[in-house]
């Protein structure tokens, strides 16, 4: 029987200052102010959620948005099951950057990666520079879903994370333990290779 993976790795990607960390904080701690214990400087967090009666642990990997780290971002994608690509609806250029993030994600990320496009800072409706329709059309073109959120006013944040986790494909326990199958998105071959490689180690 196919089941949900018990652990989901979720990557948050987006330009600097679009509110990635705020979104995560809002989702995890239900607060807007940065506060959390035993996380790596608020950049890594996890939350246990319930999906269809099953508990799932969502591991949220926040990434540095600065451009200089961009070339190293693929290291963070490894093994991710879902990604939220965030842009700021009041900043046009962050939407442009988002498109590059997405294309890179599709190129270098895992194959089965589920992507969600999130337009953050919906509370600043007056300063809007990117129309919702445009973003929606774009999201559709890349096979992703689109949502507008506000970390400040807690608009659709829970929804964003939950619906994304809902999309994560089920894994069949036949391919090993649920966790393993959920991680090795590149298939059993990759696993075999990894094992082979470890034998060559000195």
């Amino acid at each position: 029987m196919a089941a949900r993976p018990r652990e989901i790795k979720l990557v948050i990607i987006g330009d600097s200052g679009v509110g990635k960390s705020s979104l995560v904080l809002r989702f995890v701690t239900q607060s807007f102010k940065p506060f959390s214990e035993s996380t790596i400087g608020a950049s890594f967090m996890s939350k246990v959620i319930e999906l269809d009666g099953q508990t799932v642990k969502v591991q949220i990997w926040d990434t540095a948005g600065q451009e200089k780290y961009k070339s190293l971002a693929p290291m963070y994608y490894r093994g991710a099951a879902a990604a939220i690509v965030v842009y700021d609806i009041t900043r046009r250029e962050s939407f442009g950057t988002l498109q590059r993030w997405v294309s890179e994600l599709q190129e270098k990320g895992p194959r089965d990666l589920r992507i969600m496009v999130a337009g953050n800072k919906k509370d600043l409706e007056g300063d809007r520079q990117v129309a919702a329709e445009e973003a929606e059309a774009y999201a559709e073109s890349i096979g992703a879903r689109y949502m507008e959120t506000s970390a400040k006013d807690d608009m659709a944040v829970q929804d964003l994370f939950l619906s994304l986790c809902q999309q994560v494909p089920l894994v069949s326990p036949a391919g090993g333990s649920a966790i393993r199958a959920g991680i090795y998105l590149s298939g059993p071959q990759a696993e075999g290779k990894a094992k082979q490689g470890s034998r060559t180690c000195c």
């Binding site: 608020a42 200089k68 000195c202």
Partner: protein
């Protein structure tokens, strides 16, 4: 190189050429192994080559080799000769990071993987150990035939290379070496027990150097490293022009590969270019160089004649086809400016402003980095030239060379031209009268400081351009072309190597200290972040993080290592040194720097091999990934990673 080749055989051009090619790659192969040994080595190399090609790892003496494309100067672990250029045939061990020539792989049997205390890291960033060669000396129990062979070779080479040695410069490497040796000795005495053995070895080494230097006192003293032997030295006064020449050569080489690769001609052109770039007789007032100069000029003429013979009839030099002309005018503009003005050579930024404005605008918009745009531009130009249907394939390289020569002649001081033999059919250049050496170099007053920086950037640029461009062109036949290409490339790269390597090291050092400084420079910021709370003075989270990381290197199993990495990151988080993902990487870089763990990449590789890192979805995985990112940030020079980083961004 070409000079030597000519001496050996002036009649058969092809044979000479082949020989010169081999000469370069076989430099380090002097110890003449027995037939059986040779065969065994061949087999291993073949296997290795296949492995490298197919992207698989091949375990050998505990090392896990993979193909290595050197985008900046490196030294071979075994022979200490440069490994350079995207086509250089070298391997690196994925675990301990040593870099070796493919033909040197068999030599490092005595340095098993992981046994080498410091990482083979020429930038000196992650380890402070002396040269790998010295380590090999320590590790080996006897002075192998290889060592003496090198000494012999030095002797032989010195005669040739003495041309460009000025006495002031010659002293430096020896002193440097001495200092390094002392440092190494100190290092070793604290770290190892076999003190007496070490001293013996040191003596052996000193002796060896004397053998190399002894027979010819006064001439070319200080040819202390095989890196510098037998090469046309880059003269300080001529640097600017050399680097520009290099850029041109890079482009030309691109063309050569695309068209009918006429290696003889290519080599001649390269030799000519190098010759022009190093006016030993001119600005530097090189002593005792006259006979070599004559020899050189003769060689040049010889190759020039051969070259023009090859060319004749294949292409009409005077009228290049329009698209080619257009592309070349871009390149020529550059060349003109850098040669004719008495300004410092053009920086990459300046190059950016030239030509192709429309394309640039579009690509520049994103912060994708200038390096990318730059390479695209060069690619575009090369492509334009290559794709032009009017260009006869055989004459492509010829056309390019001639264009280059023509532009050069037009901008150089009237009447001076070094290409006398090379371009008999060129309209512009045929005006030439004198030898280049006598002419006043247009870049005599160039500031050398920025030069070598530019040079490193340009070399990288050329490498990347070639790498990016060539595969698309050649497809499956690439491997075949590479070997031919290596010879040409090696010559150019090797010439520039000594001057560039130092600069690279310097850059790496300053970059790392900049990273380190991030933390040290901002004590106020740290306090703002809540570090001045109770007990913060006693238990600085930063230092705790450093300690954890040091502890990581002492753990034995991968799992425990990972746990320590996590603890290190958590320390940063708990102390509120880090408050968001954007802060984590710089802070961690500071930790890595302060921890000074030798062979940190090797530890990471070990973790990667022994742990199922893909399964680490939680905090451990995040901490580990962050550490990996930081290490790649430190180890990889700016620009090498998709051109998205530059030095100033670290501040």
């Amino acid at each position: 190189m070409w000079r030597r080749a000519r001496d050996a055989d002036g009649k058969n051009g092809v044979a000479v050429d082949r020989r010169t090619c081999n000469n370069i790659s076989m430099r380090h192969e002097k110890h003449e192994p027995s037939a059986a040994e040779e065969r065994a080595e061949e087999e291993v190399l073949l296997a290795l080559r296949m492995m490298c090609q197919s992207g698989l790892r091949h375990p050998l003496h505990g090392h896990s080799y993979a193909r290595y494309r050197a985008l900046r100067p490196r030294v071979c672990f075994s022979c200490e000769a440069p490994v350079f250029g995207p086509f250089s045939v070298a391997c690196h061990c994925l675990l301990c990071g040593i870099i070796v020539h493919r033909q040197c792989v068999m030599r490092i049997t005595k340095v098993p993987c992981g046994n080498y205390r410091g990482l083979h890291d020429p930038s000196g960033l992650l380890s402070s150990i002396a040269t790998p060669r010295e380590y090999v000396h320590m590790a080996s129990t006897e002075t192998g035939p290889h060592e003496t062979a090198v000494a012999d070779e030095k002797k032989a080479d010195k005669r040739e290379s003495s041309v460009s040695q000025t006495h002031g410069r010659a002293e430096e490497p020896t002193e440097e070496k001495q200092a390094r040796r002392e440092r190494f000795q100190k290092d070793q005495s604290t770290a190892r027990d076999g003190r007496s053995v070490i001293e013996d070895k040191e003596e052996g080494r000193a002796e060896r150097i004397e053998i190399g230097d002894g027979p010819e006192p006064g001439v070319g003293r200080g040819t202390s490293s095989s890196v510098e032997t037998g090469l046309v030295k880059v003269n300080a006064g001529a640097r600017g022009i050399t680097y520009d020449a290099l850029v041109q050569v890079g482009k030309l080489m691109g063309n050569m590969i695309g068209g009918d690769a006429n290696e003889v001609g290519a080599r001649a052109a390269v030799a000519s270019l190098l010759k022009i770039s190093t006016p030993e007789g001119g600005s530097s007032g090189g002593k005792g160089a006259s006979c070599q100069e004559e020899d050189g000029a003769g060689g040049q003429r010889y190759w020039g004649e051969r070259w023009s013979k090859t060319l004749s009839g294949s292409v009409d030099m005077a009228v290049p086809p329009p698209p080619v002309a257009m592309a070349w005018s871009h390149l020529a503009q550059r060349w003109k400016r850098s040669v004719s003005c008495r300004e410092p050579p053009m920086s990459l930024a300046a190059f950016l402003e030239l030509g192709n404005e429309e394309n640039t605008k579009e690509r520049c918009q994103g912060p994708h980095g200038k390096g990318m745009v730059e390479r695209k531009r060069v690619s575009c130009l090369i492509e334009q030239i290559l794709r032009c249907p009017e260009t006869p394939p055989g004459g492509l390289w010829a056309a390019c060379l001639d264009q280059f020569v023509a532009r050069h002649a037009a901008t150089a001081p009237a009447g001076s031209d070094g290409f006398r033999g090379c371009n008999s059919s060129s309209v512009d250049a045929s005006r030439s009268g004198r030898e280049w050496e006598g002419a006043d170099m247009p870049v005599a007053g160039v500031a050398t400081g920025s030069c070598s920086q530019d040079a490193a950037a340009i070399i990288q640029e050329v490498s990347l351009t070639l790498m990016e461009y060539v595969p698309g062109l050649l497809g499956p036949s690439m491997e075949a072309c590479e070997d031919a290409f290596v010879a040409v490339e090696t010559e150019i790269m090797t010439t520039l190597y000594p001057s560039v390597l130092g600069e690279c090291q310097e850059q790496a050092r300053s970059r790392s200290s900049a990273l380190e400084g991030w933390y040290l420079r901002e004590p106020d910021a740290r306090e703002e972040r809540g570090m001045d709370g109770a007990g913060a003075q006693n238990e600085d989270p930063f230092h705790r993080a450093v300690q954890e990381l040091v502890g990581m290197s002492q753990e034995v199993t991968g799992r425990k290592k990972v746990a320590r990495v996590l603890q290190s990151c958590l320390a940063l988080g708990e102390g509120r040194v880090v408050t968001s993902a954007d802060d984590l990487l710089p802070a961690l870089a500071g930790v890595v720097r302060s921890a000074r763990i030798p062979a940190l990449p090797a530890h990471l590789a070990f973790i990667d091999q022994t742990c199922d890192t893909g399964a680490l979805l939680g905090a451990e995985g995040y901490a580990l990934t962050s550490l990996q990112v930081v290490v790649s940030l430190i180890v990889t020079p700016p620009g090498e990673m998709s051109g998205t980083m530059s030095d100033d961004e670290f501040d």
